[in-house]
Subunit: 358 residues, 2 copies
Amino acid sequence: MGYTVAIVGATGAVGTQMIKMLEESTLPIDKVRLLASARSAGKTLNFKGQELVIEETTETAFEGVDIALFSAGGSTSAKFAPYAVKAGAVVVDNTSFFRQNPDVPLVVPEVNAHAMDAHNGIIACPNCSTIQMMVALEPIRQKWGLDRIIVSTYQAVSGAGARAIEETKRELKEAVVDGVDPKDLKAEILPCGGDKKHYPIAFNALPQIDVFTDNDYTYEEMKMTNETKKIMEDDAIKVSATCVRVPVLSAHSESVYIETKDLAPIAEVKEAIANFPGAVLEDDPSQQIYPQAVNAVGSRETYVGRIRKDLDAEKGIHMWVVSDNLLKGAAWNSVQIAETLHERGLVRPTAELKFELK
Amino acid sequence: MGYTVAIVGATGAVGTQMIKMLEESTLPIDKVRLLASARSAGKTLNFKGQELVIEETTETAFEGVDIALFSAGGSTSAKFAPYAVKAGAVVVDNTSFFRQNPDVPLVVPEVNAHAMDAHNGIIACPNCSTIQMMVALEPIRQKWGLDRIIVSTYQAVSGAGARAIEETKRELKEAVVDGVDPKDLKAEILPCGGDKKHYPIAFNALPQIDVFTDNDYTYEEMKMTNETKKIMEDDAIKVSATCVRVPVLSAHSESVYIETKDLAPIAEVKEAIANFPGAVLEDDPSQQIYPQAVNAVGSRETYVGRIRKDLDAEKGIHMWVVSDNLLKGAAWNSVQIAETLHERGLVRPTAELKFELK
């Protein structure tokens, strides 16, 4: 007896990767259902050689669903995830909508799988840029404690969806082949679909991901701060981020500076990372070995390298962290949460509905 | 009566920009001489509508030269700059070779022009990534002091020369138009011409600029550390850098975190930067105004934005600093040094030769 698994947002950049991750998953699956907007309903997508017809996401679409993976934007999750829970499904939500809800565990399975044990029907998957940083830093936090994090990101455009990928390719073709001055390229999506102005990403680095908050940080930056505290269950960890979009299609890179609570010898830090599930140490300057975005694409792992002591702060360490934002940053972490729910016997209907039906 | 100005390395990515900066310079110029390797000798380049024949750089090529701008690599400067000084010229050297020499001032004119007053014939132009950071931070250092700097860079490929620009364009065309998987692209230059292995830059972010030093930092990173201390004349300033190449043709971006000695109110920091020569404040999150590489190309200014307090450290400030690495980062800073030498009456032969003739 396997599960019925639904993917909400099946046609998106993350949704298509969720299909792939489910195809390769150890989860016992009887049936996969693909949900999307009315616009995509009736089209088909392939799952293990079968053409599956896409259904419209509605309040009544979740009957018989055991696990629902949501990745169709915050408003879709806000509206439909409670109906999925009411219908008896466990929701793994890849949007930001429920992440700071105290009734919702925010989970990177290697780091805090235990947080799911008392779930209320919805598990949130953290933001892509947070997840890979957690995989790199948790082995350090466990042994030496974490006092502060300063991170600057180099984020891929696929985090902004399939249309951002197409926009980037078009801009690069116009700039490289047609000789258009990059500043004259027309942009409609980036830096962020929901904001007023749009800027070219070809030959550019855009220090805005998501819209700005009142404190002059962007929501993406505040996600890294707030999600880190929730996942590591420590509000005292200091985190400040600068999130930047670069002309990379997939795989986020991060320049991470940390200060540990106890002194952490670099050789032991490297060993701890190498031994941590989901993390891969790629660190040999003498052989020019360090993580690279192009090598991480298609992999579920988080790659860590350039690990070195700060030149002045005794407990300061710098590192370079790379992972595929669509996989560990989204689709794989979501499917991995589903697998972990199964392994821990947590795929079950929720008795009391804690989320508002809108 | 004007000067005879020589450009050594006239055919390179920086050399061609030096020609342009000299064409637009206020410096009184009688004659421009273009020097390069034997390979380029005999070819011509245009200066203010005149075709100038390129000469080979030799030990005896500097007779009659008043100002020699060097940008042909460290070994060329090491070999020929002392001969230029011996012939009576003042050398402005854009390579790293003399930067840490105690007899050589290392100058960003807006920051430490006074350091040239007792020059010995050679003035060094700092590394591109250092210069723009100095323009952004000097107004802060002057008012509140600087305790530490943590910087992560997003550096353009033109810093690695004209061949790196061509390599990047070729790779992007192969990846975007021909559909080559980025990790299968062939690279011969980047991350750094002088190292053993070469990696694609298309859709990638390479955390290596220049070769590695013994402490697992790269030379580029150590340049930012050591040059900052020399330019700001304060060995106590703590600086740790992570230098990263991104698929941008020109203009470096930097995510800069600082801690000041005294508490610096953000509004006053913005005002100090806006009023500092060479710096332009571009900072209005409500209007999505922040510095962008594509907008900085071709400009002599350094653009600063995303200025905000650290979320935890009372004296911590984050910012985003962008400038054209070939102009303020190299050609313009060199020509600006020449202009400043002229303004301060410092274009004169040096009596005692302090540099070894090889």
